[in-house]
């Protein structure tokens, strides 16, 4: 089909330049596209949807206590990233994760960054994600954030900006893996021609990392899930299946003498490493939220005693706080003595009087976010909001300034996306996955989330977002 009518908007487009010229790393794909009829593309898109249902690649939406299974729409047009650009991202992400890990370790131990006033002490210690039970902890091999799924976007200026660090239990990696399998069927020849780096060994790398953080030679590894009603249950079972380890839930585990055991048909069997997909505070009702029915009573004591390794370590959430985010560039300089490779989005902290006044005066230009909310909730997109919403958020900020930050509105880049009206630009973000084991490794691929509604900037799956396969090229 022909792409003459494709409109590049007032933003960076991943495939076409402002003048409508195809970017070099997309040229092979464009050739292929030109040989393919719109009917065929439509057919490929339909086949991809059907594959997803057949594979049960679903996430749950809550309704009347019964999970309804939905698929995350997978667009047939890939997002392609040139190798050189990827190398830059890779270096930047490694640097950032390394620094953030040092920061987390520091604030639960010596608190040097606080004493040296790099980050305001009350901002860290007062955060609800700063977990006092973790003070003095030294997790195996000194690693806290084993699995990270950093969110980035590309602004009009062509630069990538870090949006969120997602150091808790980032989800979506199963979509990266399964989407690739589906998209491969749509373009069997292109993969070879283009040289797309594989992502399929992620489960092997994940397992190796999980084994690495145990002191045992042959540790028993498991994935800890909140259960079937969790929206990411598909991913939990998928990862357990791919790694060939047990998928356990709280009821399967029991602690005795500061060790954690699985209840099996042959009695109790000790488990050494858990990739836990349960939030920190639900992990252990004895240490954290006493009302949690998902976790394992006593597991935190076992963790402290070094009898079980947890990935990610409890307590990492504090470095994910949207206010702490503003200080990450300073932290990189402080711990590593290096300039940050990747940009932070300029951030106004409403807790600071000067920043707050600026936010109140310019709210219609800014994106306002709650410091510890996720999933696109509790957020105001100034330019798209109504006057009364502006007023509402002004009041909210004045009432609880520490709870809010604001950032200039970034214009997310677009990628051609298959819609009812043919190929159209839709806004995307980028979530690469980083594993921290023996070394830090950035998986050459990502989850590209796409806002399917025309003009929309909200890419979250819970709010009408879809996904794209992300191809990182060898050359």
């Amino acid at each position: 089909m022909d792409t003459k009518n494709y409109q590049v908007g007032d933003n960076f487009d991943e495939m076409f330049t402002e003048e409508g010229k195809c970017r070099a790393h997309y040229s092979e794909f464009l050739k292929h596209l030109k040989k393919t009829s719109p009917k065929k593309i439509s057919h490929l898109q339909h086949a991809a949807n059907k594959n997803q249902v057949a594979m049960g690649m679903t996430f749950n939406v809550y309704h009347d206590n019964q999970g309804i299974e939905k698929i995350l729409h997978l667009d047939i047009v890939p997002r392609i990233i040139a190798n050189q650009e990827w190398k830059h991202l890779e270096a930047g992400l490694k640097q950032r994760i390394y620094a953030l890990n040092l920061f987390i370790h520091d604030i639960y131990n010596d608190q040097k960054a606080l004493k040296d006033k790099i980050v305001p002490e009350d901002l860290v210690l007062g955060s609800k994600d700063y977990l006092k039970p973790c003070i003095g902890l030294n997790p195996p091999k000194g690693i806290w954030c084993h699995i990270t799924g950093t969110d980035l976007v590309r602004n009009k200026d062509g630069n990538y900006y870090i949006l969120e660090d997602n150091l808790r239990c980032p989800s979506g990696v199963s979509y990266m893996l399964e989407s690739r399998e589906i998209i491969k069927r749509a373009y069997p020849d292109l993969f070879n021609q283009l040289g797309v780096m594989p992502v399929s060994d992620y489960p092997v790398k994940l397992l190796k990392m999980l084994q690495f953080i145990s002191n045992k030679e042959k540790p028993v590894v498991g994935v800890l899930t909140p259960g079937i009603y969790n929206s990411a249950y598909f991913e939990h079972s998928y990862l357990a299946l791919q790694m060939g380890v047990e998928l356990v839930s709280g009821v399967d585990l029991i602690t005795k003498g500061k060790k954690v055991y699985m209840q099996t048909t042959k009695g109790l069997e000790q488990i050494d490493v858990l990739y836990r997909r349960i939030d920190d505070t639900f992990l252990d009702p004895l240490t954290f939220n006493p009302h949690s029915l998902l976790g394992v009573p006593g597991i935190f004591e076992a963790y402290k005693a070094g009898n079980i390794a947890l990935a990610n370590a409890p307590g990492t959430g504090v470095a994910d706080d949207k206010a702490v985010y503003a200080y990450v560039p300073k932290l990189i300089k402080y711990y590593l003595g290096e300039e940050p490779i990747l940009h932070n989005v300029p951030t106004y902290l409403c807790r600071e009087e000067k920043d707050r006044q600026y936010v109140l005066d310019h709210i219609e230009e800014l994106v306002v976010k709650e410091t510890n909310a996720a999933g696109g909730y509790g957020m105001l997109i100034g330019p798209k909001a109504t006057k009364s919403e502006h007023t509402k958020f002004r009041e909210l900020i004045k009432g609880n300034p520490t709870n809010y930050i604001a950032q200039p509105t970034l214009s997310l880049s677009t990628v051609p996306t298959w819609t009812e009206d043919g190929l159209q630009g839709r806004h995307v973000d980028l979530r690469p996955y980083i594993l921290y084991g023996e070394e830090i490794e950035v998986i050459p691929g990502a989850l590209t989330r796409v806002a399917l509604k025309k003009g929309s900037l909200v890419v979250n799956s819970s709010q009408g977002g879809g996904s794209k396969d992300t191809w990182v090229l060898y050359n």
Binding site: A54, M55, G56, I228, S237, E246, G250, I254, V296
Partner: protein
Amino acid sequence: MLSRVADSIYWLGRYLERAENYARFIDVNYNLMLDLPPDLKAQWEPLVYATGDQELYLQKHQAFDRRDVVHFLAFDTENPNSIVSSINFARENARVIRENLTKETWEKLNGLYHFVQKSADKKEWTKEDPRAFFDGVKNQILLLYGLADSTVARTEGWYFRQLGLFLERADKTSRIVDVKYHILLPSPNWVGTPLDFLHWTALLKSVTAFNTYRRLYGNIEPSKVVEFLLLNKYFPRSVFYCLREAENCLHKISGNADTGYRNTAEKAIGELRSNLEFTDVSEIIDTGLHEYIDVLQLKINQVSNKIHSNFFQIKDNFSQQNSMQE
């Protein structure tokens, strides 16, 4: 293997087999209907009685109308044993232990689920002859069995699934035989008439046993049919055969290479199996077929309870919320 996973695999086996047998149940009647003399109507009441869910049925319906019965046994989500409920439960169990299933198994089971849901939406029970639906259910379940047979490793999980399958099948075959007790002949004078034989033939056909029976026993004789379906040592749907297979599964699970027993589940099933092994069909007839089958079903339930307490029951960290499936 995790107790919870074993529990789900066991019930996955049971629910699939249950759905398959319900499809067979209903087939008994359709088989009969086609051959009945013009002045006799098909009886749908016996099917409901044989499943043991008559109380629930009577709360919802006053008469045993064909459509109501077919709906109740196949599509009623309020009937926990209906085909649609069994497939839902089977899929829920599979979803919980998806990491233990092959991709193909999951995809086929998922397909079966969507097939049943769609048929329910189409109100399949209102059709004059919905047998294509029941064939569909049977065939897809047999496909799943074939898939498992040629792809699943013979480790603990396999034996838990087979254990569930064979215990369920033992129970359901006994219920199919029991249907005959509930089907009324117009009067006792009809015993031994062609109509009586028609009934027995329909039973045999519903478990795909008619030709095998013919070859082994020749003429249709009630006591021989009972012997064949309850006590035969070689037919894979006879109660005895199923119990012996289930017992083997338990031995594989515990690693018991000898005779005798290593746990209370093995003891219970061993006793039951040997009881059938050394029973003569005339003794069953003397006890009363229906009465004998009643006790048999009770004992199969006891075996299942023992399996639960031996392998699945886990210490709950929070409260006594150990739920048991049925």
